[in-house]
């Protein structure tokens, strides 16, 4: 679809927000009591932040919730039944103010959940999602979107991308059919626009991801992995805050004879992830798990899923308690 560029003033933005939230759920960033940024369903516009760097958790849970019920069951000695989840009940959601790294992650997730056979839970959630992205006017030393083929104002994954102007107004790039529908239903809020100077941050490129991918093909046995993961304590923080990590666990939970099977986030950083019942563990030490994390994102996924498993948001590195800085390691890997 041809993209259109419009101007939307700060006060019109509030109207747009309220119009959207009147008809569907809206998921927007707010600053919590502890100063951390979190996304919440239906906050009031006054609480929504436009100046956040990165939220603690990514926004992947709008399409890949930390717990997703797969079906309900009832099981007794005499009768067993399974009741499907009604996917049509999945609500329409507007994701508001997600940065380009987070919006790009939806494509990555699609490449995982929809390669080969389609995961209908993910697909339905994505179908019901409208993404209003927000270009970044802030960045920090952990950001590396430009190293993975993105930028602080890349349009990937957004239906409408808002970009801030110096005066507090925004440029709205209408990028998809879904975005256009919003434009059409609120035309009065969008104004035409001439040449403008966007207030976009600069993110320094730290490595070349294609070169990293090429290097990784022959790096499996490199001593790099042990040397650079001795300090990894093996928690799942990096995977859980990551916008593209999609590994999951499947579990049952029963009360009486009724219960549900659900899937929940998991992490390849845990020893339990690959542990066999026999006690054998294919990845029995942490360096192997760290290698798996990087290999999966930068070598296996480009090969198998035709997408890079990283969007350069920097959450894993800023959230790591022992400074396992992924960009730094990739930079080093590029040069081994």
């Amino acid at each position: 679809m041809e993209t259109t560029r419009k101007l939307i003033r700060k006060q019109s933005l509030e109207k747009l927000y309220n119009q959207l939230s009147a008809s569907r759920k809206i998921y927007a960033p707010v600053i919590a009591a502890d100063k951390k940024v979190e996304y919440k369903y239906n906050p009031s516009f006054a609480d929504v932040t436009f100046d956040h760097l990165r939220s603690t958790l990514s926004v992947k849970n709008v399409v890949f919730p930390k717990v997703e019920n797969l079906f309900y069951y009832s099981n007794s000695k005499t009768e067993s039944t399974i009741a499907d989840i009604d996917l049509n009940k999945i609500p329409e959601v507007v994701l508001w103010g997600a940065h380009p790294c987070d919006t790009a992650a939806f494509d990555t997730l699609r490449s995982i959940f929809c390669w080969d056979i389609t995961d209908e839970f993910f697909a339905k959630r994505l179908e019901k999602l409208v993404v209003i992205g927000l270009s970044c006017h802030l960045s920090d030393e952990y950001c590396f979107c430009t190293s993975v083929g993105l930028s602080p104002n890349s349009i990937k994954g957004s239906d409408i991308l808002l970009s801030p102007l110096q005066n507090g107004d925004f440029v709205a790039d209408i990028l998809t059919e879904k975005g256009n529908n919003i434009l059409l239903s609120s035309t009065e809020l969008f104004e035409s626009i001439g040449e403008v100077n966007l207030n976009i941050t600069e993110v320094k490129q730290k490595f070349n991801h294609e070169q990293v991918t090429a290097k990784l093909a022959g790096a499996f046995e490199n001593p790099f992995w042990v040397a650079n993961s001795l300090r990894c304590i093996g928690c799942g923080a990096c995977a859980y805050v990551c916008p593209t990590c999609a590994c999951f666990d499947i579990q049952d939970e029963t009360k009486g004879k009724n219960g549900r099977r659900y899937r929940s986030w998991d992490s390849c950083g845990f020893g339990l992830f690959t542990l066999h019942t026999s006690g054998h563990n294919p990845r029995h030490v942490q360096s192997q798990r760290w290698r798996q994390r990087i290999m999966h994102k930068f070598s296996y996924m480009p090969d198998r899923n035709k997408s890079l498993g990283c969007v350069g948001c920097g959450r894993c590195s800023s959230g790591c308690p022992v400074d396992m800085n992924i960009a730094e390691q990739l930079e080093a890997l590029q040069n081994i």
């Binding site: 399974i82 499996f220 999609a246 049952d252 099977r261 390849c268 690959t274 294919p282 198998r304």
Partner: protein, 278 residues
């Protein structure tokens, strides 16, 4: 609406065979006949068996695809799900998702000799294939089965071993680890690799299919090499931990390979290209 990819078929346990003290075989029938009609699988494929409330466990379909009315599975009581499974009785319900994974390329093997080598609880994944090739007996030349277990009590499918032994068109060698024999044991005594070396089957025009614990594989491979088997003529299955079965959950990654999609059947030639994470 089509059925969810996570939704299992409901199966009824038709019969139970106690193979050993902790290994059981269940014959399962589809509760819904429509499911039974559209269901088919091939040798080598596996499924996710579940006890509702306890979770899912991954193992192969142990019966032959040529026998359509039922599927059979053989499992050892080990973890939460298999323990719960083992507590079931005929008439109880088991969930089954599948079939998943690739298959043994049995069409390519037509006109060749087949050498099956299995250890302990690894016979079930091979049993499907063995029966499959026996049911198509005239398409293959010599069939040799070398099967070992720790003790006589640990041999599974005892009734079928007897049947195979009595067949003139199959050569069956059973062995138990030293000390695992009973006074009336007539088979071999010794570890599988040693017995294989003694039997020394010809590698000419032969496919070897090898399943067993890692230590058995480790010591059997050199013997096969010594007998002249090429890497591409040796097949085995990988048994990584799995959850989804269709390449999403990320658990069975071995390098860029998904054991659940690209496996579980691999030729040894393929295995050599994989990182050692299985």
């Amino acid at each position: 609406m089509s059925d969810s990819i996570y939704k299992p078929y409901l199966m009824e346990i038709e019969s139970v065979i106690e193979e050993t003290s902790d290994v059981r075989t269940y014959r399962l029938k589809f509760k819904n006949t429509a499911d039974a009609e559209k269901f088919s699988f091939k040798a080598g494929q596996f499924g996710e068996y579940s006890v509702l409330g306890e979770g899912e466990s991954t193992f192969c379909v142990a019966s032959s695809p040529t026998r359509k009315e039922y599927i059979e599975c053989t499992f050892r009581k080990a973890g939460r799900v298999t323990n719960a499974l083992a507590n079931l009785e005929p008439g109880d319900t088991v969930g089954f998702r599948g079939p998943y994974g690739n298959t043994f390329p049995i069409e390519q093997w037509e006109g060749k000799n087949l050498l099956y080598i299995a250890g302990g609880i690894a016979l079930p994944p091979m049993r499907c294939l063995i029966w499959n090739t026996i049911d198509l007996r005239d398409k293959y030349k010599d069939i040799t089965i070398v099967y070992g277990a720790r003790t006589v009590g640990d041999l599974v499918y005892k009734h079928e071993l007897k049947e195979w032994e009595e067949r003139p068109d199959i050569k069956l060698i059973t062995t138990v680890d030293p000390g695992g024999q009973t006074p009336d044991w007539k088979g071999e005594i010794g570890f599988v690799p040693a017995v294989l070396e003694k039997v020394a089957p010809s590698s000419k025009n032969t496919i070897a299919i090898l399943c067993g614990p890692p230590v058995m594989i480790k010591f059997t491979m050199p013997v096969l090499k010594k007998l002249g088997f090429q890497d591409r003529d040796i097949y085995t299955t990988l048994e990584n931990r799995m959850k989804c079965g269709f390449g999403k959950c990320g658990r069975c990654n071995v390098g860029k390979v998904f054991v659940c999609k690209d496996g579980p059947v691999f030729s040894y030639e393929q295995i050599l290209t994989l990182p050692e994470e299985y």
